[in-house]
Symmetry: C2
Subunit: 336 residues, 2 copies
DNA sequence: CTGAAAGCGCTTACAG
DNA sequence: CTGAAAGCGCTTACAG
């Protein structure tokens, strides 16, 4: 048996020649299309196998009009939220043979434009736009692109699919957990009121308290920053008066971390005197607090996977309904 | 003036037809190759511009044998180290028109194989392998690939280029900073001895102390885990005896965080009584300690950028010397 | 300076 | 069941 003509990559011509068929037949056999006798099909497959033939995806894309690549545009250079999303996207897509181009655009419009053009030139089948804030869109217009776009954790137009964690459901779970632990004076310490997620979680917190029985103490929301420092400060403020809370729902894990540390410094016991629930399940923080932090997980990896699969569906022509899809959060019970 | 034939993407045929030249001429004009009269060149460019012509990168790649894509294989699913590297790679490469495929392989050999095959099928021009540990290679053999490979933060073969932070230089800088602050009893609290970086930084610490004048107290290295908890524990151990250190160089920022917290709980003042230097400049940790942490930055983004540029050079045929390239770390002085 | 033709590696009607 | 031919969108010798 003779080998391929050159020492270069083996092409379908090599396979066809050695299997003594035409390239058309080889192509069909390898792709399982057309009617081919089982015998020739097997022979062709065997030859391909032996030669280590791997089809050139570029050539294939040129005719098939599908590149099996998608672009992932992200805002979040720090990556705390984006990375799990990316991992999920990649994981969900690789099974379908699609690879993802990563574009970190850092909120720079020119850079975003450059990346977007590069993606389009490379004929991506679709684009996933993701960011760290739902209320801040990416600095580029993704409307009227020749390919479908799915949004995750960032603002998209009304007619597109936008995947976000269900902040409301997550917050309600957190509050209900505190109530189930017999907490009656539950306050909410969170980030800046300018963040839509902060307001959304706060609203859910208020509603959850209002609908609880027997009625707990009046809701109390403290807006601040997403930092440990603010957690400390909030505790100082809350403990300056006579009435202390017995449950604190924090807007993120860093705030919760600050709250827990400040409480310990005051000799307040967690969870004996005060129960704490965070938000994010950022393991590096949540597992290191003393006690470890009970918190809400946004299931971002799953969100990424769903974003990928949704995009695939759009690409293959299924018209998705569009709109905001809220994916459930989970309560992770630890020691606080 | 007539528009393109169909409503589909405009091709070079549309440009040629409307500019009334052949596609060969159009191609040359647009790419600045061959001899073309300035006049026709301008006309062609104008037409291309007007039609919004963007060359199909796939078709171009098919002839040019360069896809202007590279693959980034990473081990580090958590992304604390990988993300800055990725951002750097992407940033350094987009200027050269190359896009990067992200493959999160999570130490799974089968998954890695699948990703690698997908990359090769898509004709990537090169591959960057990156991970979280220099002493743990990726679970796949990247030898004898048809494309060049550059390693960053992960173990590569001797003849390949491997980019790593200069741990030794970073550690020495940390120790010298403590010495310059008049610290004489400097200990090193770090991660597991099984980590090569832990041993490397420890060796550098010892050497830096030994070569200092006047001679400081004997070196003392405490191996443990990369956690806050261990920082606490180490302080408990160090303060159980009579002789307390006045400087602590920590193997990472989390340990430093634990050390600082434990010190505060004991009423030991930082930096008045003890100076602390961390390692990583993980801002989310380093900026939240009280006082903010002085630490070593590994310049991972720059490392990523260099990895990208090095790969480009290999792709374009420059034979790089190969071996371990150590990129300098920087001391970030904050309040500790 | 410009263009006709072949080719990159594959797929897909269309014949036979 | 199998193959010759055209085509995907571009580039590149080679003629003229």
């Amino acid at each position: 048996m003779i080998g391929p003509t050159s020492s270069e990559r083996v092409t379908i011509y090599d396979v066809a020649r050695i299997a003594e068929v035409s390239v058309a037949t080889a192509s069909k056999a390898l792709n399982g299309t057309g009617r081919i006798s089982e015998q020739t099909r097997d022979r062709i497959k065997r030859v391909a196998q032996q030669l280590g033939f791997r089809p050139n995806a570029l050539a294939r894309s040129l005719t098939s009009k599908r590149s099996f690549t998608v672009g992932l545009l992200t805002d979040d250079t720090y990556g705390r939220f984006t990375l799990p999303v990316m991992a999920g996207v990649s994981e969900g897509l690789i099974d379908h043979g699609v690879s993802v181009f990563l574009c970190a655009v850092e909120g720079n419009p020119d850079l975003t434009r450059i990346h977007l053009d590069a993606l389009l030139d490379k004929q991506v089948d679709g684009i996933i736009a993701t960011g760290k804030r739902l209320d801040k869109p990416l600095p580029v217009d993704l409307h009227n692109l020749p390919v479908p776009v799915v949004y995750a954790l960032t603002a998209g137009p009304a007619d597109a699919v936008t995947l976000v964690p269900d902040d409301r459901q997550g917050a309600i779970q957190a509050v209900q957990h505190l109530i189930a632990r017999q907490r009656r004076r539950i306050v909410h310490v969170t980030g800046p009121e300018t963040f839509e997620v902060a307001r959304e979680r706060a609203r859910a917190y208020v509603d959850a308290l209002r609908s609880a029985e027997p009625a707990p103490a009046e809701p109390c929301v403290l807006y601040g920053t997403w930092s440990e420092r603010w957690g400390h400060e909030a505790v100082a403020r809350l403990w300056s008066g006579p009435d202390h809370p017995d449950g604190i729902f924090c807007g993120n894990d860093q705030i919760a971390r600050g709250v827990i540390d400040a409480l310990r410094e005051r000799g307040v016991r967690v969870p004996a005197d005060v129960s704490i629930v965070g938000f994010d399940n950022w393991e590096i923080v949540a597992e290191q607090t003393r006690p470890p932090l009970t918190t809400i997980d946004m299931n971002l990896k799953e969100l990424g996977r769903q974003a990928g699969l949704t995009l695939i569906r759009s690409i293959t022509g299924e018209r998705a309904p569009g709109g905001l899809w809220k994916l459930p959060c989970s309560l992770i019970v630890r020691g606080s």
